[in-house]
């Protein structure tokens, strides 16, 4: 642990003159490589400053092999790097080469963009790649040949990561575009060992837990970070973020902490305590465009490096992190569909942790678990108010829907019944409308123009083979529609055309009659 002189470390940055897609750290953590479409450089970190040590993007033919979507640093032989190119190449770089160009070998094995390259932690010659073409290839770097190809069918591979060597020497995990996470044994290229349907939509990133071999973090376009128990094949923790997750990395020596950055919109790097998934434990908001890579300093939970599309390379110090929870007001209010209002607040207003977060860096970290305890200690009180005021409650709507009758009885009776229902609910205008409708039918059918309508009714009914209740209603509706035509020149609304349509439009009936009533 490099925590001997922690206070000397500072958050520092440097601009690399090009959007960065990925970064990787050398074995001893003294150098960092950044790679992107137009940048490929190595920096050393000394005395809180980045120094450019090497520019690998040199040579006469700066072709697409120099455009990297990912980069990996060999953790055994410190002079070896690998990069994944957007044109499908996997490129090996040797820093010991004497010539200016450090490009050692180009594998043209993939047919589509390579999304990830990853060196084995302890086997210097093993490199794995995952590509858009749906295959993963295990390279023997020394022999300059592909030793094994793993295929997931045609779905693109977005991430592939070796399991930490002490936990599973031969294992690696892969994430594909259709939401699956696959676990492979490199000795068994014919068959995937385990497959989890992990996300809806592409999985962009996976990360093995450094200490627990059963834990695997996965995240993707569905904005979720999931922690899986691989033994039980179950999600044990779930963090819902606000944007597609581009990368996740477990924090060393902190079992429940994981860092994440977003693919778009959200520029901050968040460190989550997976047990408290609703608010980031810490946030680093230095980048001016999305962060593209996170890498923790080996075994040091206080320092990590990040790269961004803004072209900046950062060394982040945990001390400088923002703690979003400190700025949150612990109170909430919400309203249910029934009109109930719930209100929750902290019983000790004013103590939100801000005052406790002062103090030295070490004390801060000793307190880290405490602080998450503190949230639970804040006893929040919740009140619920039931609200039965007409203005808020929609109860009348439900009751009306339940009690209104639209068929089964003569129309006059139906109208009277519905008017009573509306009255009971204190909706007098609506009740009036029903009565109006009742009168409309009552007068037209019985008294106003009996000679005109009576024969018509008979003739119509006789054309219909079955004299059923519903048919009568059609008839009534029809007459009514006619009246509308006579009064207004047109059918007012298609809602009247058939009883069934009218049934769908109860409220519409109410409203339209209100309108008519006021017009009259």
């Amino acid at each position: 642990m490099k925590t001997g002189q922690p206070d000397l470390l500072q958050t520092v940055s440097c601009h690399t003159e090009g959007a960065i897609n990925a970064l990787a750290l050398s074995k001893d953590g003294s150098h960092v490589v950044v790679a992107g479409r137009n940048v490929f450089k190595i920096y050393s970190i000394e005395d809180n400053q980045f120094y450019e040590r090497n520019n690998l993007r040199v040579g006469r033919h700066l072709n697409l092999n120099f455009s990297a979507s990912d980069v990996s640093w060999n953790q055994v032989e410190d002079h070896m790097l690998a990069s994944a190119a957007t044109n499908g190449a996997v490129v090996i770089w040797d820093l010991n080469r004497l010539s200016k160009s450090k490009q050692e070998h180009v594998f043209q094995e993939h047919r589509r963009t390579v999304n990830r390259v990853n060196f084995h932690e302890t086997e210097a010659n093993l490199l794995i790649s995952g590509s858009q073409d749906g295959s993963m290839k295990l390279f023997d770097v020394r022999r300059r040949a592909v030793s094994t190809t793993f295929s997931s069918g045609s779905t693109s591979i977005r991430d592939v990561q070796f399991c930490p060597a002490n936990l599973g020497y031969f294992n690696f995990g892969a994430a594909d575009e259709s939401g699956n996470v696959q676990l492979w044994d490199m000795r068994r290229p014919d068959k995937v060992e385990k497959q989890l349907t992990a996300h809806s939509g592409p999985v962009f990133t996976i990360d093995w837990h450094p200490d627990d071999k059963n834990w695997l973090g996965t995240a993707g376009r569905d904005k979720m970070i999931k922690v899986w128990d691989l033994q039980k094949e179950k999600v044990i923790h779930l963090v819902q973020t606000i944007a597609s997750v581009a990368q996740i990395r477990w924090r060393p020596s902190r079992r429940f902490h994981i860092a994440s950055c977003s693919l778009l919109v959200d520029f901050s790097i968040n460190v989550w305590d997976i047990r408290r998934p609703y608010i980031p434990f810490a946030a680093f908001e230095e980048h001016k465009d999305v962060a593209t890579g996170i890498v923790w300093k080996k075994d040091d939970p206080h320092v990590f490096f990040s790269s961004g599309k803004d072209g900046f390379l950062y060394q982040h110090i945990f001390h400088d992190a923002k703690r979003p929870a400190d700025h949150t007001i612990p109170a909430g209010i919400d309203m249910s569909i029934m009109g109930d209002i719930a209100f929750a607040y902290s019983d000790k207003p004013g103590i939100t942790g801000k005052s406790k977060s002062s103090g030295g860096r070490m004390s801060l970290f000793r307190k880290a678990p405490d602080r998450s305890m503190q949230f639970t200690q804040v006893n929040s009180l919740m009140h619920m108010f039931s609200q039965w005021d007409e203005s808020v409650s929609m109860e009348w709507f439900v009751t009306s829907a339940k009690e209104y009758l639209l068929k089964g009885r003569p129309v006059q009776e139906l109208c009277e019944h519905n008017a009573t229902v509306a009255e009971k609910l204190n909706r007098y205008q609506v009740a009036q409308s029903w009565r109006l409708l009742q009168n409309l039918f009552g007068t037209t059918v019985t008294s106003a123009h009996p000679p005109l309508h009576q024969p018509r009714t008979v003739s119509m009914v006789s054309t219909i083979s079955e004299r059923q209740e519903t048919e009568r209603e059609v008839e009534h509706m029809y007459i009514f529609t006619r009246n509308c035509i006579q009064v207004h020149g047109r059918v007012q609304d298609s809602a009247f055309q058939t009883p069934s349509l009218m049934a769908f439009n109860r409220r519409k009936v109410d409203e339209l009659f209100l309108v008519k009533q006021s017009a009259d």
Binding site: A19, R37, H61, N63, L64, N65, S67, S69, A85, T86, N87, G88, Q108, H110, R111, R112, T113, Q132, E177, G201, P202, F204, R221, A243, S244, L263, L264, V265, F267, D289, V290, L452, P455, R456, S459, M460, I464, V474, Y478, T481, R482, I485, Q486, G489, R490, V491, Q492, D493, S494, Q497, T498, S500, L501
Partner: protein, 555 residues
């Protein structure tokens, strides 16, 4: 829009809704609905309950009842042909026959054209009462959603799994919860279709616009619409023809004004998706020669059948005869399917080593070399009732390669801003669910294959499909790093490239001859398939530029 006195255009909601009571899955309801229609027509024609008197047309509040009936005949004619329900078609046919016999000054229309599109004989299109269950189900769905089974839907019926995505997306964009009011959505569709003078879509959405309670005044043209919609026009124009010119300042102009004419980002997202959807759909409409809907002007006629009229009334299109200059007439040199397959096989076998420079050159070559149909410079002259929705109609696609200063507008790298990673998330963020729907649709269009080519079966068509997709992106300056653009020249014949380019960029110039001359040996369903890919690839290309600009604005 009244251009023909014989076919009064129903312009009010009641009239348009008259036949909507037939839109039901339940045959009893349809039955009753039809009773309603018959009775109402009876009343209109015959007065009430008594034998028709000499001047009965003018009873019922002084309305011209004959005109009321006349308005409905187009719809009834359409239903007699384009309806997935046998009972409705049958009844409509009988009713029309009946009306014809009654006379009474009614002019009973007759359908023009045969089948949903000009390029494919009617008997080769999926019939409206097809026995393919999935397609039939979708036809019914479409009919219930839209109150019509439109020609586009019927034609896409070749590819039910795609049709499903397509209908779901279109329904969502136009009729479900979203940031924009319904009348806006349809007017935006009209504006988008106007860029290609696509009267088919304009008619369709004019009608929908009225149904959704839109202000009829807007239909008088762009000068009568709210400023907010008017502001969108610039982006509409760029998006349709030169999407690479869209920058974040365009977005800013729309969203960062003051007052009520501002667009929220969600509204704008909705509008952008609608615009690109209808630009691309216009390509498809022309690419397949979709016929005017039967109930729309130009879809039916009152005159007796005469041979000369069969083409001329299809107002959207170039008349066929005059287009000798169409596709480069080396059509006899077009290779057959077997050779194409041979080439694809070769591609997979010999992975040739190519240097970066070569690849770049190839991209540029494909980009600049793209051929177009030199339609003897005879462009269809758009009509006034379309032009009122169009501003700057001279503005058309220009080759990306000739875009002027190369340094200012670099090629768009698909690897740096892709639909799957970035576009999707942004779309979903600003307009929930659209991302998912579009994603399904793009993926469906890109991956759809039946492993056939013409008469051949078990063909891996991946290379061919990818070439088409990437060629379209190439025309819009979108470059896929991991694609060898040599394949485009290898697999796509000059004539096919010309066809693709015309349909994508200048769809209004396409003629039947062009359609017939490409992809010889392909089945019609496969040609429709290619057209669907054009639709989706174009839509994606437009969206990529638009969404990138939105993102740059947001961040």
């Amino acid at each position: 829009m009244i251009t023909d006195d014989l076919s009064p255009k129903p312009t009010d909601v009641d009239s348009l809704r008259f036949v909507h009571c037939l839109t039901s899955r339940d045959p009893n309801i349809r039955n009753r609905g039809f009773e309603m229609i018959t009775r109402t027509i009876d009343t209109w024609l015959g007065g009430y309950g008594s034998p028709p008197g000499p001047r009965m047309e003018r009873v019922n509040g002084g309305l011209d009842c004959i005109a009321l009936v006349q308005e409905q005949l187009g719809d009834l004619l359409r239903l007699s042909v384009q309806c997935p329900f046998d009972d409705v078609r049958e009844k409509c046919i009988n009713l029309l026959e009946d009306l014809k016999e009654r006379g009474r000054g009614l002019k009973v229309p007759r359908r023009i054209g045969d089948g949903p599109c000009r390029f494919i004989p009617e008997n080769e299109v999926m019939p409206v009462n097809t026995t393919e269950d999935q397609t039939q189900m979708l036809y019914v769905d479409a009919f219930l959603q839209n109150n019509r089974l439109d020609h586009v839907t019927q034609l896409v019926g070749f590819h039910p799994s795609y049709l499903e995505c397509f209908l779901r997306t279109q329904q969502f964009l136009l009729r479900e919860d979203g940031p924009l009011p319904f009348d806006y959505r349809h007017f935006i569709a009209i504006m988008a279709a106007g860029r290609h003078q696509c009267s088919y879509l304009i008619n369709l959405h004019t009608q929908e616009f009225i149904l959704k309670g839109g202000d009829p005044a807007w239909l008088r043209g762009l000068n009568f619409i709210p400023k907010k919609l008017r502001d969108l026009y610039e982006i509409n124009k760029l998006l349709a023809h030169r999407p690479w010119l869209i920058t974040k300042s365009h977005i800013e102009k729309l969203t960062r004004g003051t007052g009520k004419d501002n667009w929220s980002l969600s509204e704008l997202m909705h509008a952008l998706i609608l615009l690109s959807h209808f630009h691309a759909l216009a390509s498809f409409v022309y690419g397949c020669g979709i016929h005017t809907e039967i109930d729309h002007t130009g879809g039916h006629s009152y005159r007796h059948h005469s041979t000369s009229e069969s083409n001329s009334n299809d107002t959207d299109y170039n008349s066929d005869g005059s287009s000798d200059g169409g596709i480069p007439t080396d059509s006899d040199s077009e290779v057959g399917i077997e050779i194409l397959m041979e080439r694809m096989r070769k591609l997979t076998e010999e992975e040739e080593e190519t240097t970066h420079e070569e690849r770049l050159k190839r991209f540029e070559k494909v980009e600049s070399q793209s051929v177009e149909l030199t339609t003897s410079s005879k462009q269809p002259s758009p009509k006034a009732d379309i032009l009122k929705f169009v501003d700057d109609s001279e503005y058309v696609y220009q080759d990306f390669a000739k875009r002027g200063s190369v340094s200012e507008i670099p090629t768009f790298r698909a690897q740096d801003y892709s639909w799957e990673d970035h576009g999707f998330s942004l779309a979903n963020r600003l307009y929930a669910e659209t991302g998912t729907l579009l994603d399904d649709k793009f993926r469906m269009a890109y991956n759809l294959t039946y492993y056939t080519m013409g008469e051949m079966v078990n063909v891996d068509t991946t290379a061919f499909r990818r070439a088409i997709w990437n060629y379209i992106h190439c025309m819009y300056g979108i470059r896929h790093d991991d694609y060898n653009y040599g394949e485009v020249n290898h697999l796509l014949e000059r004539s096919l490239k010309a066809y693709i380019k015309t349909v994508t960029c200048y769809p209004e110039r396409l003629t039947k001859k062009d359609y017939d001359n490409v992809m010889k040996g392909f089945k019609h369903s496969e040609k429709v398939h290619v057209n669907l890919m054009l639709l989706e690839a174009r839509m994606q290309a437009e969206l990529l530029y638009a969404l990138r600009a939105v993102m740059q604005y947001m961040t």
